[in-house]
Point group: C2
Chain length 320, copies 2
Amino acid sequence: MRPVRIGLLGCGVVGQGFVRLLAEERFRHVRIERVLVRDRAKTRPGVDPALLTTDAIEVIDDCDVVVELIGGIHSAGAYVRRALRSGHDVVTANKALLAGSGRELFALARDNGARIGFEASVCGGIPLIRAIERGLAGDSIESIIGIVNGTCNYILTRMEENGLDFASALRLAQQNGFAEADATLDVSGADALQKLQILAELSFGPTTHARIRVHGIDDVDREEIEQARSRRCVIRHVASARRLPGGVELRVERRELPESHPLAAVRDENNAVIIRGRAVGEMFFLGKGAGSLPTAAAVLSDVLEIAGQPKPVALHANLT
Amino acid sequence: MRPVRIGLLGCGVVGQGFVRLLAEERFRHVRIERVLVRDRAKTRPGVDPALLTTDAIEVIDDCDVVVELIGGIHSAGAYVRRALRSGHDVVTANKALLAGSGRELFALARDNGARIGFEASVCGGIPLIRAIERGLAGDSIESIIGIVNGTCNYILTRMEENGLDFASALRLAQQNGFAEADATLDVSGADALQKLQILAELSFGPTTHARIRVHGIDDVDREEIEQARSRRCVIRHVASARRLPGGVELRVERRELPESHPLAAVRDENNAVIIRGRAVGEMFFLGKGAGSLPTAAAVLSDVLEIAGQPKPVALHANLT
C-alpha cells in the first residue's frame, strides 16, 4: 500500500514532537513529504533538513493530509482553505481558527469530500473531541464545565501553593515553558473561550447567539486566594457552557470552589473537563492540556484515523 | 435514505434503555426491526410488543446491525457468530464474550467485512474504548490502573462510610440495584478481570501469556477498612495492567490507597481509569460504570457510528 503523505505546515515544538512520534516503525504507512518552515537554517532535532521548504503551495498541493501547526488565523486559514478546496484532509491544533471560522471550514470540507481532524485543538492529549462527538453521540449533553487553559491554572496553583503574586507566578510559568512571552491570550480568558466555543458547538450545535461572559485572571491578587483558602476553597479559572431556553451560555471566569470539588484538585498545567449527559450522568476527564508530545499525540491520532478510513466519511458532521 | 435496521437481542434493563434513547426524533434514521426476548408476555415499557419475537434467526438475518444485549457466552456467542458470518455489524456490551473469544470474533468480523462495536463492554458510559483505540492511537500506552467494577466499589465505600460489614453492604448493593442476586462474578474479581483483559488487549496487543493475579473482595472485613482509615487510607478494588519484559501483567486486587490518590475519591458505583501514555502522560477518566441508560448510551454511540460510516472500516483493528 502506498504510504499516506503528510504535508506539515509549521515545525515548532508541537511539529517537532509530531515528527518524533511518527518516527516509530509501526507508523511506516504514514510519511512526512514536505515541511513548511519560515527559516530553513534553524536546527530542528530529528527533522530531515531535506524535507524543509518555505513554499507553502508545494507542501499543500503535493500530499494527502495537511497537518497545520502554524497557529494564528491568517496564513493558517489561507493554507487550510486551499487544502480543503483541493479535497485534502486537514488535521489541525488551531483553536483560534476553528473557533472563528469552524463552521465555514467544515462546510468547505464537506463540499470537497475532505475531513478535518481537530482533537489537538482542545485540551491537548485528552481525547475530548472524540468523547463528545462520538462517545456521547447517543446522549444529550446538558452542560460542560472545566479548566481548559493550563497557563492560568499553573499561575493560580502557584499563587496558592507558593504564596506568589500574579506577576511572579506568571514569570515562573514563563520560565518553565507554561506561558508565552506574551501571555495575554491565556490570562485574558480569550484562549479558554475559543476552546469552550469548540466544545459548545460540538455539544449543542451553533452558538452564534450565545450569551458570552469572559473574565481573565490578570486582576487576581493574593488576598482573593488567601480569603478562599480561609474558607477551605480554591480559586480556579473555569470555563462553562450550558443550554438555556434562549440559546447557549458561555462563561469563562474565576470561581471559588470548595476543596472537595473535582476541579479544585486540578493542579499546575493540567486540564480537566466535567461533561454532564442526560443518560450517562457526570463524566470527568483529566490530563495534560498542552505540551509538545501530548498535543503531537492528539494530532497523530487524527492522522492515523484519517489514514485508516476510506473517504468520504463525515468525521465531524455535527460542526457542519 | 433507507433507515438502518437494528436486530435487538435481549430486552432487559439495558435493552429497554436503548429503545428509550433511540425513540428521539434525531435518531429516526435508525430503526429497531425485531427484538428477541424469552418471554413475549412480559411488560416492557416503551417497547412495541409487535416487534417482539422468540426466534433469534429471524432477528439476526433480517437486519443491518445486530445489538447483542443478552450477556453470557453460549447463546450470545452463537448469535454473534451467525451475525458476523453473514456480514452483519454487531454492537455488544458483552465483556465475558469478548474477554473469552474476542480475537476469534474480530477475525471473523474482518473476514466477513463486518464491524464490532463494544464501547459498552467496559465502564458503561465512559468512552474509554474510543479513547484507547483511537484517541491514543499515536501514543504508546505504558499502564492502565482503575476501578472497573461498580458493585465492588459500592460495597467497599458503603463499608467505609456506613461502618457495614461485607454481607450487609452486599445486601444494600442488591437492594439498590448495584449487585445481582448472585454477585459472585463481581465480588470474586472475575468481572473486573474480563474488562481488564479487553483494555489490556487493546492497549498492549495479545495478552495470551499474561501473568494474571486475581483477588476478590469477598473476604474483606471491617477491621481491614478501619485500619486503612487510621492511616488516612482507603481500600479500593483495583484492576491494573502493565507491560513487563516477559509480557503483560494483569492484576485485580484490593489495594490500600492514600486519601490523596485519585482513585481514593471514586465512590459508590462509579468507575475510574488512569491511563499512562508515553507521550500524553497520565489521563484520568471517571464516570458511571454501569446502569441502564449509561450503558445504553454507549451502545447507541456505537450503533450511530456504524450507521454513519461506509463499510468496510477496520473499526477495531488492534484486536484482530
